[in-house]
Symmetry: C2
Subunit: 200 residues, 2 copies
DNA sequence: AAATAAAGATACTACTTAGTATGTTTTTTT
DNA sequence: AAAAAAACATACTAAGTAGTATCTTTATTT
């Protein structure tokens, strides 16, 4: 196989397996050995492509974790239509569409924020960048809603954005503790109310 | 020293040091050796009092972590006065009163929820119980607010309770990524708005 | 085709981990 | 005061950890 392509495929394979193991079992308790066992490649292969576990962690965050948030929570905000409807759709419909697997294991980003968000500046920056991108996209949509008179003008867009993100990440952690969706439905109900009150 | 008192003091010492290390460095990366080095006692002493690290973790949750939440977030809900004022005071004033240390390291309970909330049923149950207690106390206060006509009657108390808890835990994780309080102030602003809209 | 470099494998080091076995010291019971 | 039990200490085991050194295999360049 062509060398640069082979190298790229191997790195992607490592990143994919690493992401899944980090998500299911946590970052710190996932060893390079466990990751490479999943890829059926060797430890030598890993250290040929990455200089350390930290370097891998950063790539997993900036590639896999970021992509998930962008695809699921950011790009959909850029659609056309009523701003509040879009918010409702993303924060509620999407939450309800999660598989049991995703409900059990929470949000990959939030898991990392709480596990390693205060340990290394590099992780902090990589994770913060995702949050900032998300927040900016939310603010942009809320501002549009104000201009189009579907959202009350006298609310701080940044405040609403931060409050929406906080509650969403919070509930994804808390849901892990439960075996059914009651708590999710209560969150959805609380959020619906919140969004209705933003209506112009 | 009297034996049962000595035993109790040693266990308390271990739990205290364990809580701090779990909080600062995470549960999984805190070893029994590190904990016992802090106590200046030996590993033998540890395994005389606890049968495993898991047993210690459960005691830390049900004693230290639970106590913190009860003292800071639950008991104050039982005070007399306007229900919304109490909510505002606890969720806002308290958040602002946190030391840099607590802002940097987030919420001990939320850290544990996200680090080990999906790993062991026993941890899940212990953490869930704290959330349920908190939620019940919030519902009780909101119900009182409705009876006293300070809170709108047509909102679901459980939904509001869950939404408040979610956002609070969420922001305490997210704050870890930042070096200043801007994000906290935006959260507070978003929450203020939310509470005002609950006013009867 | 030969030389070179990248990709990957194997075997290691030095260290950390939870937990155990067995010892000594301190307190309590008789 | 002697015996028993609890509190604690020391030294270990077996398994796991990140990372390195050195090898073989595969692809690229000349």
């Amino acid at each position: 196989m062509q060398q640069d392509l082979k190298s790229e495929l191997t790195k992607q394979l490592i990143i994919d397996k690493a992401f899944t193991l980090f998500y299911e079992n946590g970052f710190k308790t996932t060893s390079i050995d466990k990751i490479m066992k999943e890829t059926t490649l060797s430890k030598g292969a890993f250290y040929h492509h990455y200089k350390s576990k930290k370097a891998l962690g950063l790539e997993v965050i900036s590639l896999k974790v970021q992509k998930r948030v962008l695809d699921g929570m950011v790009y959909p905000l850029e659609e056309t239509g009523d701003a509040l409807d879009i918010l409702e759709h993303i924060f509620i419909t999407r939450l309800k569409s999660f598989k049991i697997y995703e409900k059990e294991h929470g949000c990959p980003m939030n898991n990392l924020i709480n596990e390693i968000g205060d340990h290394e500046l590099a992780y902090q920056l990589a994770l913060k960048q995702i949050i900032e991108t998300w927040k900016s996209a939310l603010i942009k949509l809320i501002e549009r809603g104000k201009r189009e008179h579907t959202i009350k003008p006298n609310v701080s867009s940044a405040a609403v954005a931060v409050y929406l993100i906080s509650a969403f990440e919070g509930i994804r952690g808390i849901r892990k503790l439960y075996k059914d969706d009651t708590i999710l439905e209560e969150y959805v109900s609380g959020l619906s109310l919140y969004l209705k009150q933003l209506q112009a």
